[in-house]
Every structure is written in structure tokens, then in C-alpha cells.
Symmetry: none
Subunit: 267 residues, 2 copies
């Protein structure tokens, strides 16, 4: 089920701009199951639809219910979000620590619950969840916009999901290794974009040194120590083969300009 099955539950949302923005960011990160508890605005109002842009389908398929327990029907795991720290004994966890738990049983429905823009969730509503998260914010202005909070949580969940899939692919890849030739490179690179072989680099350094001696930038007795600095600089950047080609092109063109100095004007 994964992200697509995870319910994003909004309790009494009042701002259509927020609801529309939330639909958009849900779709951006692969979510599509929006549940509204007693919404205080029309999720299909022009403002909501405008903010949703290409996520109107998320708004159109949103489910409205009367209470939090109805929104959680069938779920085995629920996390509630809160900004409050008073009159609340349960630990408030960091999203990065707690949210991955929602994805641990992908075959079972799970929910992430957000409260009202102005006063969040009541203690009674919080208590329908098993864990509680608070996005850490600055004490000078701690209150996040609702859509921002949903966006950050969707982003965190999508990161967790991607890491899980990467880990699975790697495990799967390991199993396949016995019969199937390994993929040449995990990153998509064409050959010219690959790091240059060291002998190509060495030819460039030799060429650079000989030109710098010729034009009087280097002196024979200090050339080696100066060239060390250039080697460090270019080695650090991991030059690609085509970049070495470009740099040698400059050297050749300088040589050409110097050799043709008597035949040209304008320098």
C-alpha cells in the first residue's frame, strides 16, 4: 500500500487555500488519500482548486467524515501532530524519528492526523493516535502554517519510502548478482562525463607545465612546486574526460595564438 494507502487526516480545516495546497503537496510526494473531519470550508471551492493546480483529483476523491474515529476506521497505526507541549504527558517525537513507523506494515492502513489551523487537536482527538510528533521550530515564531506542516511530513515519509525502496533494490540486486551481469554504474553517466583516467590527466599537466614555462609564468627551478598546486586543484574537482579535452583545447589555442602572432592583428 505504501504512501498511496496512507491517510492524511485533516480535522476541521477552515482555509480553502490550505486544503488546496495540501492536495498538491500530497500528490507531489505520492499520496492520494485525503480525509477531512467535519471540514469548515468547501474543499472544491475555487480557491482550493486553484491552489491544488494539477492535484484536483486528490480534492475530488477526498472523503469527508464527522469524527476522528470514523477517519481512522480500519487503521492499525496513527500518528497525531501537535504544536503544544503543555498539559500533555506523552512524549512528542521528531517527525524523522517517528514517521517511518507508519510505513513499517505497508499492507495495513495507517493515518497521519493534523489539527485545526488555529488550535490544533483536542486532547481527546490526540488520544486516538498512538504516537505524537512535533516539528521542531524556532521559539521566536513556532506556529507553522497547516499546509507547510503537511508538506514537511509528506516529504519526510517520501524520503523514508525512497530509502526503503533503495535498500530493497540493493538486496534484490545482490540476489541477482549470481546469474546476471552487474549493472555497470548506478548513476546514469555517458562515457565522456566519467572521471578522466589518470594518464589523460598526466598528459594535461605536462602540457600545462610546458606552456607555463614557455610564457614565463613558471620558472624551471620552482615549476614543480607550483605545478603541485594546480594538480591539487584539478584533482580535487575530479575532471571528466571531456573537461580535460576542453582545458587542453585552451592550451592549444594559446599556443596557436602565440605562433601566429606575426600574422594576426588585434591582440
Amino acid at each position: 500500500m505504501g504512501l498511496a494507502g496512507l491517510r492524511i487526516v485533516l480535522v476541521e480545516p477552515a482555509g480553502p487555500i490550505n486544503v488546496g495546497s495540501i492536495a498538491r503537496v500530497m500528490k507531489n510526494f505520492g499520496f492520494n488519500h485525503l480525509v477531512l473531519v467535519n471540514p469548515q470550508c468547501d474543499p472544491l471551492s475555487p480557491e482550493a482548486l486553484q491552489m491544488a493546480v494539477h492535484a484536483k483529483d486528490v480534492l475530488e476523491s477526498a472523503v469527508s467524515v464527522a469524527t476522528v474515529p470514523e477517519a481512522l476506521q480500519g487503521c492499525t497505526r496513527a500518528i497525531a501532530t501537535t504544536a503544544r507541549v503543555r498539559n500533555w504527558d506523552s512524549p512528542l517525537e521528531n517527525p524523522r524519528t517517528a514517521l517511518p513507523w507508519l510505513l513499517e506494515k505497508p499492507e495495513q492502513p495507517a493515518a497521519l492526523i493534523f489539527g485545526r489551523e488555529d488550535r490544533g487537536l483536542s486532547n481527546e482527538e490526540l488520544n486516538y493516535a498512538q504516537r505524537f510528533i512535533r516539528i521542531p521550530t524556532s521559539s521566536s515564531y513556532p506556529s507553522l502554517n497547516l499546509a507547510t506542516a503537511v508538506g514537511i511530513c509528506c516529504y519526510e515519509l517520501a524520503q523514508t519510502d525512497a530509502e526503503k525502496k533503495d535498500a530493497e533494490t540493493m538486496r534484490h540486486g545482490d540476489a541477482q548478482k549470481e546469474n546476471v551481469p552487474a549493472s555497470p554504474c548506478p548513476r546514469v553517466l555517458v562515457s565522456d562525463n566519467e572521471p578522466a583516467p589518470l594518464d589523460i590527466l598526466e598528459e594535461y599537466y605536462q602540457h600545462l607545465e610546458s606552456l607555463l614555462l614557455k610564457i614565463g609564468y613558471l620558472y624551471p627551478h620552482t615549476a614543480a612546486s607550483r605545478m603541485e598546486k594546480f594538480r591539487q586543484l584539478y584533482n580535487r574537482t575530479q575532471l571528466q574526460t571531456k573537461e580535460v579535452g576542453m582545458l587542453r583545447g585552451i592550451l592549444r589555442q594559446v599556443e596557436w595564438a602565440l605562433e601566429n602572432r606575426n600574422n594576426r592583428e588585434g591582440f
Copy 2:
């Protein structure tokens, strides 16, 4: 300087709702330095102020400039955000991997650059940055709202900052246990070895371009795209101030050799 010193740079933002939301989320996560490049809307319009809620001070102290280089003046590190993957050779990194780099030198100004709502940053604008991030999104609707993207990046940076502070507190505690003052800085760096400010880099690129045009390596109609490759190469390597000095020394020496071509022998 930390989060408060980090510049959030918006290039030609057009939506006052976005700009206001961005001011709010910046303040939520401890940022206050907003720079607008040629803004296409009034950052103090009623809609922007309404979305900012208690972050009007961030909008009021926002700086408007005409170009990206002006926005980056004095910065030594800049990361640009992009959604595009076409016609772009440099790697697009995950925010979680790349953003902590902006906080590594808290005493030096750094910037995080976001493009236009509808078409992001041009390649020329991207190339003022040294690293590039893309927030991973669903292929079914990859385009994030601008304020959502800024919010996620501010959240990531604040998480990194909090983790750093936690680690420092722990180290400090350990050091005190033994009655030994903590080492002030693990790496010894003198000023010349530090990353070159971006305006010094820009002067080098201008100098390189003008010389390459003069010697016929570049042609006016293709200079910009060719120079992009060199910018990517040198930005990737994080040139130190003294290295830029060495590279400019080569350019000056080549110019000298060309100018004195009639008075010298041996080329």
C-alpha cells in the same frame, strides 16, 4: 552566523501569497535574511502580509536587487534548487545530502537560491551556484509549489543545525568532564586557503571569457554555453582565494606574452 545569516534568494517571484508564506516559514525555522532578485510582485502587498502573519519583519527587511550576482555578493557558498533534469550535466543532489554543506562555515555568508514559480532558474543563473539540489517528487506530479520547496529546505537546514548544536553540546560536556578546554576549530585554515567569495570567482570567469574570445577559443555566439562548462568545473572544485589568484596570474601572463610577441623570441 548560522541559520540567521543564511540568505534565502528568490529569483523573480511573482506570487505575493508565496512570498508571504516563505517569510513565515523562514521565521518558523530561524531564518531572517530574504533577498529578492527583480521581484515581480510587491512583497509588502496585503496578500503577502496576510500570509506572513507574524513574520512581517522578514518581509520588511527583505532586500531587493537586480541580479543573482548582486544577491550573492560576499557569499562563499551557494546552492541552487532546480526541478529540471534536461540539458544539465552537473549532478542534482538530494537536499538532505547537500544542504548541510551551507552550514559548515558559519562565519561565512552562504545562500540558497530558488527560481521562478513557472520556470525556475536559467542555466546562467544556476551556474552562479556551486551545488544543485532537487527535492525528489512523484513522477505523476513533480512540480512543487515554491513556498513548499522553500519550507522543506528551511526545515532540513534547521534539522541539520539542531543536530550540530546537539553534537557540540555533547562534545563540550565531554571536554568539561576532563577540565580541558575544547579545541576551538578542528581544521587549521588561513584566509587565503578559504573558499573564494563568489564575486572574486565571477571576476575570474569574466577575465577568462574575454581572453578566450581574444585568442579565438570562444566564439561570441557560443561563448555563454561553453563558459557554463568551465563555471561548473571550477565551481565544483570550490576554488580557494589563492587558487583564483594563480589562475588569474596565468591569464595575465598569457596576455603579456601575446602583447610582447614582437619583442620576444622563442615561441
